[in-house]
């Protein structure tokens, strides 16, 4: 159930955040930050490879099907990154990314 999708930058601010209308954004932001702590722990213990992150993700509570979701998200994220006009640290304004996220949220919800 994807009620909320967020992409968080290294500096711990969201590059992209979208939630379904029912969910309170603030609450979700809090949850995202708390989950970040978990991620941070794992990161500090392991390496920084992208692959590891994906495994980390699996290592968290989420069930396996979200792995596909994460992969889609990640692919879209890399596509955004590939855009030379995108400065790392900017909010993600890519329409393709938006569409992908929307489709993911619709599909799973």
């Amino acid at each position: 159930m994807a009620v909320c999708i967020a992409v968080i930058a290294k500096e711990n601010y969201p590059l992209y955040i979208r939630s379904t209308p029912t969910e309170n954004k603030l609450k979700f932001h809090y949850m995202v930050h708390t989950s970040l702590d978990v991620v941070d722990e794992k990161i500090s213990a392991m390496g920084k490879a992208l692959v590891d992150q994906r495994e980390l993700y699996l290592g968290l509570l989420y069930p396996t099907e979200d792995y596909k979701m994460f992969r889609k998200l990640h692919n879209s994220y890399t596509d955004v990154m590939c855009n030379p006009f995108y400065n790392p640290g900017d909010r993600i304004q890519s329409r393709a990314f938006d569409n992908m996220v929307t489709s993911m949220m619709i599909q799973v919800c």
């Binding site: 290294k10 941070d40 500090s44 855009n83 030379p84 006009f85 995108y86 304004q93 329409r95």
Partner: protein
Amino acid sequence: MEAAAAAAAAAAGGGCGSGPPPLLLSEGEQQCYSELFARCAGAAGGGPGSGPPEAARVAPGTATAAAGPVADLFRASQLPAETLHQITELCGAKRVGYFGPTQFYIALKLIAAAQSGLPVRIESIKCELPLPRFMMSKNDGEIRFGNPAELHGTKVQIPYLTTEKNSFKRMDDEDKQQETQSPTMSPLASPPSSPPHYQRVPLNHGYSKLRSSAEQMHPAPYEARQPLVQPEGSSSGGPGTKPLRHQASLIRSFSVERELQDNSSYPDEPWRITEEQREYYVNQFRSLQPDPSSFISGSVAKNFFTKSKLSIPELSYIWELSDADCDGALTLPEFCAAFHLIVARKNGYPLPEGLPPTLQPEYLQAAFPKPKWDCQLFDSYSESLPANQQPRDLNRMEKTSVKDMADLPVPTQDVTSDDKQALKSTINEALPKDVSEDPATKSGLLPPPPALPPRPCPSQSEQVSEAELLPQLSRAPSQAAESSPAKKDVPYSQPPSKPIRRKFRPENQATENQEPSTAASGPASAATMKPHPTVQKQSSKQKKAIQTAIRKNKEANAVLARLNSELQQQLKEVHQERIALENQLEQLRPVTVL
């Protein structure tokens, strides 16, 4: 009249079978509409009595209704002009540039819908509607309401292109774009639609005719432009293959006329790259990346496109659209697509939601196999000139044709390098003057919807410096300015900045335009050509030296800029690493403390 109706219906029958038939007309409607259509087409043919049968005989599947009678008919429906505009757009006449049977029938149905109080939408015509009412003197429409359909006892279907429906929305958008940019253009004078098979015909010239005036477009489409939609926009009954063959023959037969009309238009008109544009884009690509089969890296492309002065989010979006494989680099077709989108955006077109089919890399590669001209032209030019000085003139956009483009290389090849540089410098001289003195003519020169000439991205400062460096040659610029002030303004005014490379082109196009386009073509071109040799003799050497120096500086500049961007990227990365390390340090510190 009945014969005409029969002929029209029979011709229409030749076209059905291909595509879904969403538009259903009842017998009465079919009869009435075909009558009305015959009347309008007949009026186009030149006489109400003899017109329809003639038109039917001559080209059964290709009758078009002229704008005049159709407009009268629509006005007779007593709907507000706004509604009629909408109807014209929706039915596709605006898109195709004429009223073929399909468009006409749809329009009539929409009129009926509007008169019944329904909104002017495609969906409205799906349901049963009363016949449209027209307050005409003859009142033919009313009279014929009651006549039984002679032709078929069944419902007649008017299939229209599958793409039409989907493209309507897009057409509306694009038509609105056209409208905003060309309020003077009548709704009927829009470019023809492009059925899918149409697109396979590589007629990319005349692209900018989209933005030409209504007057220019009126005569051409109605007579000569065969509506390829025509056979499909017909009622049921005939084999599907026949109309396609018919269409193919029509395409071939009218390709010549199309050249003359220079009016090749497609629904994605703004997104279709013409030959000149393609040339220009390829040249620009070469300037960034000598190997046309390789690609431009993201940072290089970024620097280049940033010069177009579009906002970063827009550029980002354009990149997103054009970098189909999302690899952070642009191949030649991707680059052309991106450039074209930038040009479109600069001309005011809103960016599309998705990459239009004519800008897809596969399409571009298929439509434009490696241009061999480029090689020839490059070889023929002196190597001192930058490779992309091909004289693709912007004014040619107004009257493109394969013929013209074939002519183009010939005169320029004859010009020596000295001449070219002399000409080039004359443009430099002319530039500040033209730009400063004719800002108003900028808009006037451009046809109401601005043509989409290749927009040069490189900076303005280069030209300005070049102009300063060449203070002499007052005579040549004045001549050039006199001879074709309008034409020069077009290339100058549209792009606020112009690369040095392209200065050659406007001069050539000025000289060449005089030949084909101006009334006093012979004398004018002779007059302008004569002063040039004398001018060039004076300071060719100086110019040469300055040109080379400028080029070198430019190259160095580009290299440094690239280096700069790369270093900045590295700096960013290092910054991030540093932040990460500091975070780690923070995490470790409490441990040690405790």
